[in-house]
Structures are given as C-alpha cells and as structure tokens.
C-alpha cells in the first residue's frame, strides 16, 4: 500500500514537473516563413466608422506594462484614438494561450459572436485556428501577426522588419563599447539558430555593432524560453563574466537590463522602452509601433478598400523604431550616427542584410551586391554572421 502511494505520488510529482517544462510559455509571435504570394482581389463593402467592430486576441494580459502584448495593445489603442472609435467597438480576448487550440477557437468564436468585422490575432501559434475560422466565416476579415499563412480572400498576415531597429540599436551598443574601449558586446537570445527571427535579429544587431566598431565581438547566450526571468538573469551574468560591456536581448523580461545595470554595464532592451528598469544604464530598445498597421488596416476596411495582402514593412512606414536614446547612458555621437543610418534605411539606401556577408564558420552567405530576400529573412537565417560567437 504505502509503496504504491509513494510511487503514485512520485509519478504525479514528476508528471507535473514535466508538464510544466512542456508548457513553457511562448510569449511572442515569432515568425517563421512569410508567404508573400499576393491576393486575388476580393473586396469588402465599406463599414461606417461608428458601426465597425474590431476583435483582438492577445497571448498575455492587455494590461501588461511592457513586452509583446503591451506593444500590440498600445497599437490597438492608438488606432482607436486615430479613427475616433469608441471603446465598445473594440472587443478583446486576452490571456489566450497560443498552444491551446481549444482556447484559441473559443476566443475567436466569442469575437465572431460579438459581431466583429475584423479580428486581429497577435501570436504565432494562433495561425491554424485563425485559418480554420477564416474559411468558416468568409465575411469577416482575419489578420494574423507573425505567421506565414493567408488565403487570398479574408485572411492575411502581418509582421515587420524589426531587424532594422536592431541594426540601429547595434550602432548605439557598438559606440558605447568603443567609448569604453572593450570590444565585447553580449546578447541574450530566447531561441537558437533554428529560429530565424531571433538569429536574424542577432545578426542585424551585430552588423550594427560592427558598422561602428569593426573589431567588436558579439557573444550570445540562448535561454531556450521566450520568458524566463531567472534564466535571463543567469545568462546575463555569464555574459558579464565573459567580459561583455553592453548587453542586448531578445527575450521578454527586463532582467538582462537590471543585471547589466547592477554590474555597472550597459544594455539594449526590446519590445518597450526599458529605461525605467535601468535609468542610468539602458541605452535604447528596438520597439514596435503596431498602431501604424492597425490604423492603416482598419481605415482601409472602413473605406471598403481593404485588400487581402500580406504586410511586411519597417522603417519606411515607422512600423519599427527605437525607444528614445537615453542621454544618461549613450556614448557621444550616438544620436547623429543612429539618425544618419535611420535615414538611409528608411530611404532604402541601406539594406541591412546585403553582401558581402560571411557566417562565423567562414562561409560566404552573400556576394558583393547581393541581398537577402524577405523569405530568407523571415525563415532561413539559421547561421550567425562573422563576429558573433554563441557561448
């Protein structure tokens, strides 16, 4: 008897442990490949601005004060303000786990039942459920962030060139490292080289660093989780131990920034302005301005001009950007250097991933004059460029 109880208890305990490990939270719509085939035009009738109803599905709470959902929610609110929509015209389902298909469908059904004309689903794994609902309800527009599926009729996807902002943040980090005279910059990434978005982001950051400080090395630690504050802290500490003087990140908490600040190092955040977390040490952060997309899209729907096209923009429309440079922390000349590069990116004069480009194994990725295509950027960056070292 007691033995069996013991065994059952142990199994239960271990099962729960494994279950917890298994359901590591995936906060973040992290794109894989982007389907850029354009739509066969179907048009929707105009909807009066005071009648339109907008549905949103968020992965975490709409009341978050920083991070991924916060950025989307801010965009939705900006859109509502810009178009003069009332709060009851926006229906939100938040804390919808994107690994839980049933929960996703229930949230979508709620929004359909609430009479929404357009539904924005902001996280990657909502994709298949959204696809199914788009087929089921052809009169409703479904717009999914960071995935790659679309149906050319009422279901598109949207994402942005955040790597452009990462490149600029790399300039800020590189100049700071140069000012300190230490050619080592660190980066805490959530996912390894199998994830093109994180890996491409690290590469873009490194290119930015190298553009101002060519001999500077970028050391990378991978946590394996989008959100794991304790692990992010350990990884940041390990980078500091390895000599990094500026730490950047692609993960969801501000622990990398606070750890850097405590050790007297500097940091580049992500998703939202993390200066409040490290007032004297945070340089800047690549951020999203989702309001640009939401406003444009809803406005088009109101006018009856919406077309089912996939959306992948960047600095040219200010979908991505940098949080205000922190005067207390940045190196001299950062502002000018960032502004100059920003103009070049916006005008198309500077393309981040252009040749010659080598990976850190010595293979040539791009020859002089070549550029990565959007499909390659969103789905096929599985290598680190020269000067990046994963530790």
């Amino acid at each position: 008897m007691k033995k069996s109880v013991r065994i059952i208890a142990l199994i239960l305990a271990l099962a729960t442990v494994f279950a917890l490990v298994g359901c590591g939270k995936q906060t973040g719509g992290e794109g894989e490949t982007q389907d850029t085939t354009l739509a066969e035009g179907q048009t929707f009738a105009p909807i009066p601005a005071d009648k339109i109803k907008i549905g949103v599905v968020h992965i975490t709470s709409k009341d978050d004060t920083s991070g991924y959902t916060y950025a989307h929610q801010k965009g939705i609110e900006e859109m509502a303000a810009a178009l003069g929509l009332k709060s009851e015209q926006i229906v939100i389902r938040d804390n919808v786990d994107d690994n839980d298909v049933e929960a996703t469908k229930a949230a979508l059904q709620d929004l359909v039942d609430a009479g929404c004309d357009v539904i924005f689903a902001t996280s990657y794994n909502y994709m298949d459920a959204v696809e199914e609902y788009a087929e089921k309800y052809p009169d409703i527009i479904f717009s999914h962030c960071s995935g790659y599926k679309s149906n050319g009729k009422n279901f598109n996807n949207y994402f942005g060139r955040i790597y452009e902002a990462r490149y600029l943040s790399g300039i800020a980090a590189g100049l700071k490292a140069k000012e300190l005279g230490v050619p080592i910059v660190g980066f805490v990434g959530a996912k390894g080289s199998d994830n093109s978005e994180v890996t491409g982001g690290i590469n873009a950051f490194a290119l930015g660093v190298q553009s101002v400080y060519p001999e500077c090395e970028v050391l990378v630690k991978i946590t394996g989780e989008w959100y794991d504050p304790a692990a992010e802290g350990i990884a940041a500490k390990a980078l500091i131990d390895a000599g990094a003087v500026v730490l950047s990140q692609h993960c969801d908490s501000d622990t990398v920034q606070t750890t850097a600040a405590q050790a007297g190092r500097f940091g580049v955040g992500y998703n939202s302005d993390m200066t409040p977390s490290a007032p004297n040490n945070h340089l800047t952060a690549p951020i999203w301005n989702w309001g640009v997309y939401y406003t444009q899209t809803v406005e088009a729907i109101i006018k009856g001009e919406w077309k089912c096209e996939n959306y992948y923009e960047g600095y040219n429309v200010n979908l991505v950007g940098l949080s205000p440079l922190n005067e207390k922390a940045i190196a001299h000349g950062t502002k000018e250097a960032v502004e100059e590069a920003q103009k070049k990116i916006a005008s198309g004069e500077l393309f981040v991933f252009s040749g010659p480009l080598y990976d850190n194994q010595g293979n040539q990725i791009l020859k002089e004059g070549e550029k990565l295509t959007d499909e390659q950027i969103t789905g096929e960056i599985n290598y680190y460029i020269k000067g990046v070292r994963v530790l």
């Binding site: 007691k2 109880v5 013991r6 059952i8 208890a9 142990l10 239960l12 305990a13 271990l14 729960t16 442990v17 494994f18 917890l20 490990v21 939270k25 906060t27 975490t60 709470s61 009341d63 978050d64 004060t65 920083s66 991070g67 390894g192 630690k221 991978i222 394996g224 959100y227 794991d228 504050p229 304790a230 692990a231 802290g233 350990i234 990884a235 500490k237 390990a238 131990d241 969801d252 908490s253 501000d254 622990t255 606070t258 750890t259 600040a261 405590q262 409040p276 977390s277 070292r389 994963v390 530790l391």
Partner: protein, 318 residues
C-alpha cells in the same frame, strides 16, 4: 580558472531558492505530509516579500512577509489535510494553482497602482546585495564564493543546518520523525501528532516562501515581472527532496548541484562543446530518477521517504 569560479558563484546564486524550497518541503514530508504546493508557496512568498520590500524598504519586514504569506498557504494545506484529511497530492496541487493565481492577481494590482513595473529602491537593493567583508572577500577565488554572497544565501545555509540539527539531534526532531514513519505509534507514545504536523507544515511552507522572495528580489534584481518569476523552481525543489534523501544537510549539496544544472549551459563554451539546450533542461530530472533508482536498490531505511508520507493519519482507524 576564473570561469570555473564564476560558474560556481552563479551556481550558488541559482541554488539558493532551491535550498529554501527543499528544506521547507523536507520538514513537511518528515511529519508525513507530502506538500506539492511548494511552487505555490514560493509564488506567495515572491509576491509578499517583494511587496513588503517595495513598500517598506526593510529587509526584515520583507523576510517576515514572505515567510508569513507562504505560511498562511501552508496553514490552509495543513487544515485540509491534517484536520479534514483531504488527499494530500490534490490539496498540494491546488495550493500551487492558488498561490500562482493569487500572486499574479495582486501583482497585477501592484503594477496598475504603480503605473508601470514596480521596482524596489536602491536602498533596499543595497541591503540584499552581495556582502563585502574587507580582506576576507578579497581572497582570490574563494573569497567571493564564501564571503561575498548575498544575505539570503547565508540564511538558507543556516536554516538547513539548524533543521538538520533539529531533525537529527533533538528529542523533538525524533518525535517528528516518528510521526512521519508511524503516526499511530507516535500517538500511542504520547506525541501530539496533529499539533506537530501543523507546526512543521507551516514552518516548512514559510521557508519555501523565503525562497520565492529571493527570486523576485535578488535573481531578477527587485523588479516585479508581469508573469511572475518562480516558474518551476518549486517543482525542482520537490525533486530535490528525493535527491537529498530527506536530509537538510545533504540538501545544501543537492541544491548546489541542481543550481549548477541551471547555470552550466551558460558557462560551458558551447562553440567548443555542443550540447542541445534541451539536454540541460532535462538534467535535474534525469539525475533525480537515477538517485531514486539507486536509493531504492540500496534499500537503506535511513535514506528513504518517511514511511507514512502521503498518507493521512486517522486516529480512529488505528
């Protein structure tokens, strides 16, 4: 050499919440109550300790608050399992869910009230920063890992040693172990079984709570996170109880080893030694399984789970 000691230092930092959780749970299991609510109690402690530190800037009040709220969680558990004889596993799991939910709800309220992510002040952060003893802390290599740690680490080790002495060397400790092995016999010999269960479950829970506070105050530098910070450490502590064979002194070593598992992958030069991340994440559980197999083969009565652990004691059914 530097890397090795940096790694050791990081491992000690990462092992401390596990040590709190483990010795707390050992205390509970030694009186025969398997409390799977460690994770929940750590969440409660993480919130209460943070909130107190945020509001009062006092280390002592923060310590007591984290202990106190987690102890309340343990009290609920004790009432349900000891007095009402509810199933221990289910009650423990419920406590986990409850603890996580409660601290997230109040954490959210705290964020809303602060109008942004709340942070502890520099005054408080200085109190929980790594101590610096002149001369001693400056000894090359070992100075930092012995005399240059934050106060929680010393508290954790002290608690583990005190509990070891209490459990193994005192009469009360003997009584307590008797309850875990055979509550009916203990009862017959005049020990107040239920009272002892209550006291030890509650103290054990409170100790788990300090581990949670350590995570929100030290591991993430005193910044309250939207989605919490404990995220599974409580479960590792439950596994560690088995690993340390219900011995608080061994728990010090055990948690250090498990702390190494969490920091190892950041210190192994992965451009030279390529091991998938999943392997490191799996390590604690594989090692626990191996220890479990080895100890059950050895059939050493001393190093196994208390015989009555997980079984509620019905006085009337003796």
């Amino acid at each position: 050499m530097d890397t090795l000691f940096n790694f050791l230092y990081a491992s000690i930092i990462a092992s401390t919440p596990l040590l709190f959780g483990t010795v707390g749970e050992i205390l509970s299991e030694k009186v025969g109550n398997m409390n799977l609510g460690v994770e929940g109690m750590m969440w409660l402690g993480a919130f209460a300790g943070f909130y107190a530190a945020y509001k009062t800037e006092s280390f002592l009040i923060s310590l007591l608050a984290s202990f106190g709220l987690a102890a309340v969680g343990a009290l609920i558990y004790a009432f349900l399992t000891v007095t009402l004889k509810a199933n221990q596993n289910v009650t423990g799991l419920t406590l986990t869910t409850f603890g996580i939910g409660l601290s997230l709800v109040f954490g959210k309220a705290m964020i809303t009230a602060a109008g942004g992510a709340p942070k502890t002040s520099d005054v408080f952060n200085a109190k929980v920063a790594a101590i610096n003893i002149p001369v001693l802390s400056d000894i090359p290599y070992i100075g930092k890992i012995i005399f240059g740690l934050n106060p929680y680490v010393y508290i954790a080790v002290a608690i583990a040693i005190i509990l070891y002495v209490y459990l193994m060397k005192t009469k009360t400790g003997l009584n307590l172990r008797a309850i875990g092995e055979n509550p009916a016999a203990a009862d017959a010999s005049g020990i107040n079984v239920n009272l002892m269960k209550y006291i030890n479950i509650i103290i054990g829970g409170g100790i788990c709570g300090i581990g949670g506070a350590y995570m929100s105050l030290v591991m993430v530098n005193g910044s309250w996170q939207d989605s919490g910070v404990v995220n599974g450490y409580g479960w590792i502590a439950v596994a560690l109880v088995i690993f340390s064979s219900w011995n608080p002194a061994k728990a010090i070593l055990g948690s250090l080893i498990f702390g190494m598992f969490s920091s190892l992958r950041y210190y192994v030069p992965s451009d030279i030694i390529v091991i998938p991340t999943a392997f490191y994440q799996m390590l604690p559980f594989v090692v626990t399984t191996i220890v479990l197999i080895v100890t059950s083969i050895k059939k050493n009565k001393e190093n196994t789970q208390p015989a009555a652990c997980g079984i509620n004691y019905f006085r009337e059914e003796r």
